[in-house]
Every structure is written in C-alpha cells, then in structure tokens.
Amino acid sequence: MDLIEHPPIFRIPSIPDQVVYMWIVMGILLIVGVVATRRLQLVPRGSQNFMEVLLEQFVKELDETIGHDGRRYVPLIATLGLFILTSNLMGLVPGLIAPTANLNTTAACALIVFFTYHWIGVRKQGFVPYLKHFAGPVPLALKPLMFVIEIISHCARPLSLSLRLFGNMMAGHILLAIFFFMMGVNGMLGWALTGSLGGILVGAPATVILVAFVVGFLFPLKLLVAVIQTFIFCKLAMLYIAEAVAETDHH
C-alpha cells in the first residue's frame, strides 16, 4: 500500500495534497489567462492563439450539443474543462500529483454540474413542469414508477461522473507507480546492480524493456486518457444541460 501512496514533491503540512495541487492548477490557469489576454490582438499570436484554439473547441462542441443557445454555458464548461485538463496533465509529471486523482476534487466538479443543470432546467421551465418531465411520456399508471427510476438515474449521474474521472486518473497513477517500482532500485535495476549472473542476464534487459514500455506506451496512453476524460466530462455536462434545456420544446 505504501507503493500506491507515493508522496508528491512538496506538501504543506495539515493541508491535503490535492488541495495544494489544486491551488497550483488555479495559479497556472490564472497566469495563462492573464498572459493570454494581456495584449489582445485581432490576429492572435502565441499564448492568445493557443487559448483561442482551445476555447473554440469548447464553443464548437457546445454549438453542436446544445444549439444556438449553447454559448451561454461556455464559461461553466470551459472552466471545468480547463481545470480538469490541467490537473490531468499535471499528473503526468513525475513527482506531482493530479488533483483529479482524488475523489473529493472530482466529486466537487460533478456536484457543480449536477446542481447547475437542475438549476438551469428549473429556471427555464419552472419547478413543477421540470419535475413533471421526470415522469416521461408514459401512461399515467406507470408515471410514479418512471419518476422514481428517473430520480435514481439523475442521482447516479454525479456519482458516475466523479468516479469515472477519479478512477481513470487513480488507475493511471497506480499503474505508473507499480511500473516505477518494478524498474527501480527495489526491482529490476536493483537486481541488475547486485552483479549476479541472473541480474545481469535478466534484470538489465528487463529494466531497459520496462523503461521503453513506460516511455513509449504508458505515457502516451496516459496523455490520451487525460484528454479523453476531459472531453467526456465536458461532453456529458453539455448533454445534461442540453437535456434540461431542450425539454421546453416539445411541451
């Protein structure tokens, strides 16, 4: 178990690690935001260009998912997305930890999405009509059943949102930790350094293979997972908002 709980480089006593690293992420995002918007130009260059490309992805997805009304939710979705993306990528740097590899952080993000899309739905159509939509288009006798099922499914949404992100990040961490352990001084490298015949014949090649595997396969995989999980979190948040908003149309 000590293997999994590898400590990050620096920590502030009596403050949880994920909170400290969340502050670092916030600092990074603040600095990037200030630098990118310091000298706004019509033809963007450098950091402004980068951030505009990034934000245009969010705007495009929102337009696709919610429609013409979607741009109102760019601040919410893009903030969540940038925060999660930066945190996920920070987990790739050895010695730092990803704040999203802790259930508290992801649960906070998921709860924000949960309450926001309900709030949007209630504000768009009023409290009682919004509740009525939980019952769905079924015969009257089945409506109480549908209502309960829908409530449960809505409550499962923040659970699955937070657990998906947390599980992916945490699994990546544990995988990397185990591989670092295997090729480290206590593992294959240590075996090779003992100078015994088996160590030199098996341990040394195994170290090389493990390093090549981690650098060539696991790190790109974690990079991909970090981006895809951000995309999925934002896309699901958009879909929930779209569902809450769009139901006004057919009634």
């Binding site: 699955s160 947390f166 992916n168 995309f231």
Partner: protein, 105 residues
Amino acid sequence: MRRILTVTLMTVLAAPGMAWAAEATGGGDMAKAFAVLAAGLGFGLAAGLCGLGQGRAAGSAVDAMARQPGAIARIQTAMLLGLAFIESLVLFVFVIAVILLFVKS
C-alpha cells in the same frame, strides 16, 4: 454448461469449508485474504467483460465509419461516449477493489 455447473458446485461445496477455516485461524487474516481475492477476481472479471463490450462497440463504430466516412466525427463522439459508459462500470469495480485492498485484517 457442464463446466459452469461444476465450478458452481465446487464453489458451493468449498464455501462452508472456507468459512470453517476462517473460524479456525481466528478470522483476522482470512478476511484480508478474502478481500484481496475478491479484489483480484472482481477486477479481472470486470476488465475481461469490459474488453468484450468495448470490442463490440469499437468494432461497430469502425464498421459505421468505413461505410460512412462523412460522418466520422459524429460517430467518433458517440463511440467515445459509449466507451466511457462501458468503462465507468469497470472503474466502479476498480474503486471497490481499491477499497477492498485497504481492508484492515
């Protein structure tokens, strides 16, 4: 079918024996052992079945993309969402497995 029956029968027959063994050794270490066993078995099952599911989903998506190259972007989005939903079930099991590994005796 016969193999499944045999495995089930063996499990049913072995369970009282294991429970008895747990009582005999004082229970403490046995709970830990069962927790580790459950974590490994459960996660193996979940990962394997998720492989089947994701394989089907990805295969159908590639099929659809080959038929309609124009709709690749939309199919990709749908596929990613589907894969995420399938994968999240495994991640639930993963979280449970990690919790099980932290069981103290």
